[in-house]
Amino acid sequence: MNPLELTLGVMTAVGGFVDISELVFASKAGSTFGYALIWAFAFSTVGIIVFSEMAGRVAAIAKQPVFNLIRHRVGLKLGLVTLMASLLSTLITCAAEVGGMGLILHYLTGAPYLLMATLSTLAVGGSMWVLPFKWIERIYGLLGLLMLVFAASLIAIHPPWDRVAGGFVPQVPHGLSTKELLNFAYFGVAILSAVMFPYEAYFYSSGGIEEEWGPKDLLTNRVTSIVGMALGSLLAIAILANSAQLFGPANVGPELPGSTAMQAAIPLGGTGLLLALLGMLFAVAGAAVETCMANAYSIAQFFGWEWGRHKKPWDAPRFTLAWIILLLLSLALVLTGIDALTLVEYAVLFSILVLPLTYLPLMLLAGDRKYMGDYANGLLAKSLGWLYFGIVTAAAVAAIPLYVITSGGQG
């Protein structure tokens, strides 16, 4: 194991953890419920760690990416249903990221939002064409580390650390009305969905295959999944805690990413604001790349096309055409004028519906000794896998009723 590669891998995972949905929901959750939903982030992070580790291990041992497995395990019909649902949810997520880039660039430059969304999409597409997989992943992930400014700002505002630590204990705040309780439940489901987005497993396992992982890379997989994602999650938690401390008492509802960036401006001034906006821009752009490529990976793997960004674009032509079309479709969704935050809501809602279908075949294969041999799921992975599968299934059932009843968390 190369320590430099490992460190870079962990840093990339940290910087690439946060996307527009986490930005929005962490900030809103903090201002609405104080520190009471920190545990939802921590709990969901353990879930994404469990499934990412499985996805990476399956990629390293069985050499199979997630969508090959889904089709082989659940068959063509249910596989097609899963593919369609996943494409739709990830396309909406990608559009939300494109909208997020447009908004952040609008804050940075003052230029019109839709123009900025278009230019940033072209820039992201250009980088996907020019750069090979490892560089794409590293550049966006490492530049996303500028968001560490949120951790610095949290330290600077001296929050009540005992209450922040208390937020890690699963809880429901006392004295909430039924309406507020439902709103709390909606935020819990939304955070679970935003942290465990299905595209993350597709992208991570495909990345393992792009980088030709084998048994010797299992430690890298484990450390990157556990340490990288846990530290990345702490960034999201820092945003929530900042919001609880700065916005909650002032009754500020931080709907827009610009309000989130203000968390760094309040204690750290203009430099903090600039770093926060740039960090958010690269994190969201990285998520746009990941969602777009995850969709292209899914289609290519489902139908057995040549795929991968370790190959030149013309060596995987249908895959290349797929990601170009998907990126343009995401931009088209934004250009229709749908509000970026509405797209975030839909992305979170549709993703939770797809999660059980994504994670079940992955868990079955990761536990299959015929494919995985001695590397099959042990007792811990099996127990955690089934626990989280049960929870995401329950959340998927509850998601739409909660969305309707709470008007998308508006109470």
Partner: protein
């Protein structure tokens, strides 16, 4: 598993990815063609690849949608061209030699060959 070994469960072979001898992805096992008949030994004759092979595996209305989007071509990969069947089916030959990669090659012509590192 060797390609000539008895296959107890067709489901083990269906929907496996196929790679040619150069390691290039070249499709999925969409259906299987058998030879033999009543009173005779049944054996796999070929793997069928392509959207046309979905016909027996999905409702008519869904296949009609697939046909509209992707066509109904089927490529036969004879059993003799299969090297191994594991979690991936590996061919002894290149994709082009058995008629796979036709669409891939057609789309390749539209993709500019410059600019990528």
């Amino acid at each position: 598993m060797k390609p000539t070994a008895p296959i107890k469960l067709v489901s083990e072979l269906l929907d496996l990815p196929i790679r040619d001898r150069d390691g290039r992805e070249c499709g999925i096992v969409d259906d299987i063609e058998f030879e033999g008949g009543p009173g005779k030994t049944t054996a796999i004759k070929a793997l069928l690849v392509g959207p046309g092979a979905y016909e027996r595996r999905m409702p008519g209305w869904l296949f009609a949608c697939v046909r509209m989007v992707a066509g109904d071509r089927i490529t036969r990969v004879p059993l003799q061209e299969i090297e191994t069947i594991r979690s991936i089916v590996t061919l002894k030959c290149t994709a082009t030699e058995v008629g796979l990669h036709r669409v891939e090659n057609r789309v390749r012509r539209w993709i500019p060959r410059k600019g990528a590192l």
